[in-house]
Amino acid sequence: MAIDKKTVEYVAHLARIELQDKELEKLSSQLHDILGFIDKLSELDTKDVLPTSHILPINNVLRNDQPGQSLTPAKALENAPSSEGNFFTVPKVIE
């Protein structure tokens, strides 16, 4: 599978990462090489193999619905680059 500059630019947008032109150039060629290497997997017949998304046989871990301790608003906001009152602040969302 080939990956071109346009695809990388599109995927970077999906990942919300702004790339400089030089980065875009370099990344496209590196990702092209990496995907070429990854394509080795297509030589295997995996039609009847079940996927493993989790290695141990556990599922649906539930806990009792009991109130516990959580962070206070002040504590939760301590690391925020910008906040006001009990809120995180961000640039304007609606024009």
């Binding site: 990942a15 919300r16 990462i17 400089q20 990344l27 394509d39 141990l56 925020a80 640039p91």
Partner: protein, 475 residues
């Protein structure tokens, strides 16, 4: 007495008889760090923190050094990334709570690492490269390079690292120390800043096998805050340090001894195998036929999970935010574009690509299926064998800068460690020799899920009958 050179099991009796105090150990470490860390750079030096000062530290018993991706309440935890600059966690990771409950003091400087644990050389740290204490022109391995280097250079008594594809074992091998990746689910991941959640495990990096078992005793166990931690009994791992491998069946995978492996590494492994045979173990060749697919599978699954986990770094809740932005989306893009390093961007974009519409089946789903085949290879071998022995890395520590411009070449340095994470099994790396140039070589011992006691038994027996772990770098 040079306390910084001792192991925890040597220090604890001295503390108990009051021959020394916890403060004595801290002072020995500070003075060691002041004299050599400007060369090794095993510890993170943050802004306004250009020199190490003896900042007041709560004294417990033996201090422990923590990798920069494990949350320590009130103590900077930045994953060695610009984007998490200044982050002081409002809570302790479960392993930190357990260490404190056991009376250990959390050392107030964190260990250097590749940004977000993305790397095999610690060259991807925002705080600069860590240097290998055995040869300062070489890498310490990664991503837990700071943790391994500070233990090797006696700048720490012991340390915690994390291992997603070899990030504890490969640096342990390059630095000549002992590092264990526990079974997936053995140690709680709560408070470990996530890279690839189905692969990540926290584990101990120590000067010898006994310290390693003692540390695993402390950090293991079920935790309701990590729903993937497993509720099985935790053994006292020090009980498996028995110096006896008679009758044990050990497999050596033929696929691991192929071209690309350094001749000196191969020779050291062969000698280690002979040593275990002479101690009474039964050693036979085994096959893990899907080994060659482990690296491609890993770079799909690990990057896919990373692209999702790292979505949280958006300039809103913590860390760095780019200035002069037009709107919310622009703020996200500029923050992440300026805040992440090259390797982080590469992995997030690759992970987003393999999950994106039209490519999911061809890449991600196929990788999950091949992961099944890799796991089945191990299941088959462990029906007849107690453990598997292999090299930890195909080469000793490489030169700084040697692989940094070729990501694919760098990824291949994890060729022997990655399968273990994909299969969820435990594995240790311990010293098994040196190259002619004096670089450490590591041997890996793997076993079935939750068979850490078997790994410690074989590792301890080998260590008791060799002297490799007693060598120290001259620095």
């Amino acid at each position: 007495m040079e306390l910084h050179k001792l192991t925890a099991h040597e220090l604890i009796p001295k503390l108990e008889t009051k021959e020394i105090s916890a403060e004595d150990i801290l002072q020995a470490l500070y003075s060691r760090i002041k004299s050599i860390d400007s060369k090794v750079n095993a510890y993170v030096r943050r802004q306004n923190d250009s020199s190490f000062r003896d900042s007041p530290q709560e004294t417990g018993t033996v201090p422990i050094t923590i990798k920069d991706n494990i949350c320590t309440q009130g103590l900077n935890t930045e994953c060695c990334s610009k984007i998490l600059g200044g982050f002081k966690p409002p809570y302790d990771a479960t392993v930190i709570k357990k260490l404190k409950a056991a009376g250990l003091s959390i050392f107030n400087f964190k260990a250097n690492m590749d940004e977000f644990a993305f790397g095999s050389s610690t060259e991807n740290s925002f705080f600069g490269t860590t240097h290998n204490p055995w040869d300062l022109e070489r890498v310490p391995g990664g991503s837990s390079g700071g943790s391994a280097a500070c233990v090797a250079a006696d700048e720490a008594i012991w340390a915690l690292g994390s291992d997603t594809g070899g990030s504890i074992r490969q640096p342990a091998s390059f630095c000549g120390v002992v590092g264990l990746k526990p079974t997936y689910g053995r140690v709680s991941r709560y408070g470990l800043i996530a890279f690839a959640s189905s692969l990540d495990q926290i584990g101990p990096i120590t000067k010898d096998v006994r310290d390693n078992a003692m540390l695993l005793n402390i950090i293991s166990g079920y935790d309701a805050l990590d729903s993937t931690s497993i509720n099985t009994a935790v053994q006292d791992y020090t009980k498996s340090l028995t110096n006896d491998v008679k009758g044990l069946k050990i497999g050596v995978p033929k696929e691991y001894f192929v071209e690309g492996m350094d001749k000196e590494v191969e020779g050291a492994l062969q000698e280690a195998i002979n040593k275990l045979k002479s101690l009474g173990a039964e050693v036979k060749e085994v096959s893990l036929p899907h080994s060659k697919y482990a690296v491609p599978v890993y770079y799909i699954i690990a990057t896919a999970e990373a692209s999702s986990n790292l979505a949280r770094f958006d300039g809103v809740q913590y860390g760095f935010r780019a200035q002069q932005t037009q709107n919310l989306i622009d703020m996200y893009k500029k923050t992440r574009g300026q805040g992440f390093g090259d390797e982080a961007k590469r992995r997030i974009i690759l992970g987003t690509f393999v999950l994106s519409h039209g490519y999911y089946d061809a890449y991600y789903l196929r990788a999950l299926k091949v992961r099944t085949l890799i796991k089945q290879d191990f299941d088959k071998v462990f029906k007849d064998f107690d453990c598997i022995i292999a090299p930890t890395a195909p080469t000793p520590a490489f030169k700084i800068g040697e692989k940094v411009s070729d990501p694919l070449k760098m990824y291949l340095s994890d060729i022997y460690t990655i399968s273990v994470n994909l299969a969820g099994i435990p594995a240790i790396s311990l010293p098994c020799g040196f190259t002619k140039a004096g670089l450490p070589i590591g041997m890996q011992i793997m076993s079935k899920p939750f068979a850490e006691e078997m790994i410690y038994r074989v590792a301890y027996t080998y260590e008791q009958n060799t002297d490799w772990h007693k060598s120290k770098p001259k620095i």
